[in-house]
């Protein structure tokens, strides 16, 4: 066996929502094929920082561990991404980890992404199908349309695009790039299209589509490769048409 290698982690911690964040360094033994989550689990087993003091173990959220739930999003070496798919072997050390501070920090790396779910409710990001009676088969749709919507449906509300966007911050009320993709997803569905004006109208409300400044960070940062900037341009076109139609028929 070769000598024991260690991994250096510098974590931005915060004890509660109102306290000041601070940095803490950890050194943990290296194992093969670790990710950031398994490094955190190692700290949980032996919560001692680099100075040798016993500390409270790091708090974080994670569920699926396969980059589909979005729960373990955090900023790793400057980039917002999922901790589960952040492989230690591919990261430059020391690994700097901080919470996605565009959201309210609850504790350590746990943030409150509630605003994203509020936004989904605001724009009615669903297809209403009322009644328990048989509605019959839905309209037929082309493979091409279906493929396009499949890409948009990959959104896992992880919050990475909000963290990456320069226009999502304390002085702006922008709902975030993801919401545009979701409106596009449901408006492009043949049944969903029946309510598309409601969604478009909500999307151009306060903090909506117009807050986009085309920095295009969202499409670069999205872990699911969702074509967010294309959705933004599509919705720009749709909302221009929507507003003109509304004003001219007033």
């Amino acid at each position: 066996m070769s000598e024991q290698r260690t991994i250096r982690l510098i974590v931005t911690r915060q004890d509660d929502p109102d306290s000041r964040p601070y940095q803490e360094e950890f050194r943990i033994p290296y194992r093969q094929n670790m990710n950031v989550i398994s490094a955190f689990m190692e700290i949980q087993r032996n919560p001692v920082n680099a100075a040798g003091e016993k500390v409270r173990p790091i708090q974080w959220e994670s569920n699926c561990l396969e980059e589909v739930c979005g729960a373990c999003s955090m900023v790793i070496n400057g980039r917002p991404r999922q901790a589960c798919s952040a492989l230690i072997d591919k990261l430059e050390q020391p690994i700097r980890i901080s919470p996605m501070n565009t959201f309210p920090v609850i504790r350590d790396l746990i943030v409150d992404r509630g605003r994203m779910f509020d936004a989904l409710k605001r724009v009615k990001a669903w297809i209403p199908i009322d009644g328990s009676h048989d509605l019959g088969p839905g309209p037929r749709q082309s493979q091409e349309e279906s493929d396009w919507r499949y890409e948009l449906s990959k959104c896992m509300t992880c919050g990475v695009c909000l963290q990456a966007c320069p226009n999502v911050n304390n002085s702006s009320d922008f709902m975030g790039p993801f919401i545009v993709g979701q409106v596009n997803l449901f408006n492009a569905h043949p049944t969903g299209a029946l309510n598309k004006d409601e969604r478009t109208s909500a999307l151009i409300g306060e903090g909506g589509l117009q807050e986009c400044g085309n920095s295009q960070n969202c499409v670069q940062a999205c872990p699911k490769g969702i074509p967010l900037t294309t959705s933004i341009a599509i919705m720009n076109r749709e909302s221009t048409r929507f507003v003109l139609k509304k004003w001219l028929s007033f």
């Binding site: 295009q216 919705m235 076109r237």
Partner: protein
């Protein structure tokens, strides 16, 4: 339901940046370019412009007010952004930051430029020949020469990159490929307009 006021304001800001402000920028660079054909050529085209009826009304309504709206609302947009070029050093993110920086510089430059030329014409009742002489005097000063070059480059950059953004914001260029082609086209326009502008400034300076 929420209001759509900020959507309206933002779209108006985008539209006014092109019509009439962007259109005026092109017209202004074109008129001034006549100086490269000699002072008489410049004076002649200025006289033609000054011959337009109700010019002051047109200037206020179609240049000054739209410019002020675009400038002041633009400041609000610029200072609300939280630039993060250090984390995302991508081309578009750098353009996003430069659009805001050049916007602020252009606004300051344009206000000074209006004071130094248009307002002086109004106060002292300069003739077009006197205007040409005064401009030559300004450009003969090396510091002013640099200030004007920086102001010009910022204005032209802000216009060209703004046109790229305008096409996205109104849903004209939708896909990544059309947006890339648009980047090249507006890049070429930037080079062409900068060439015209710099040549104009140097032509004024050379008459001093």
């Amino acid at each position: 339901m929420s209001t759509q006021r900020s959507f309206f304001n933002r779209r108006l800001h985008s539209l006014l940046g092109v019509i009439p402000v962007g259109f005026f920028l092109i017209e202004h660079l074109y008129t001034n370019y006549h100086i490269t054909g000699g002072k008489e050529s410049f004076v002649e085209s200025v006289n033609w412009l000054w011959g337009i009826p109700i010019l002051l009304v047109l200037e206020v309504l179609f240049i000054f007010l739209p410019l002020m709206y675009h400038g002041i609302y633009g400041l609000y947009i610029a200072f609300r952004a939280d630039n993060n070029v250090s984390q995302f050093g991508t081309f578009r993110n750098i353009m996003f930051m430069l659009q805001r920086v050049t916007g602020v510089i252009t606004l300051i430059f344009v206000l000074w430029h209006i004071w130094q030329t248009r307002v002086q014409v109004a106060i002292y009742g300069w003739t077009s020949t006197q205007l040409a002489d005064q401009t030559v005097a300004i450009m003969s000063n090396n510091i002013w020469l640099i200030v004007y070059m920086v102001g010009l480059l910022c204005a032209v950059f802000h216009f060209c990159n703004g046109m790229w953004s305008f096409l996205v914001s109104w849903g004209v260029t939708v896909g990544p490929r059309s947006q890339t082609i648009s980047t090249y086209i507006w890049g070429a326009v930037f080079v062409a307009m900068s060439f015209v502008g710099i040549r104009t400034i140097l032509a004024f300076a050379s008459l001093g």
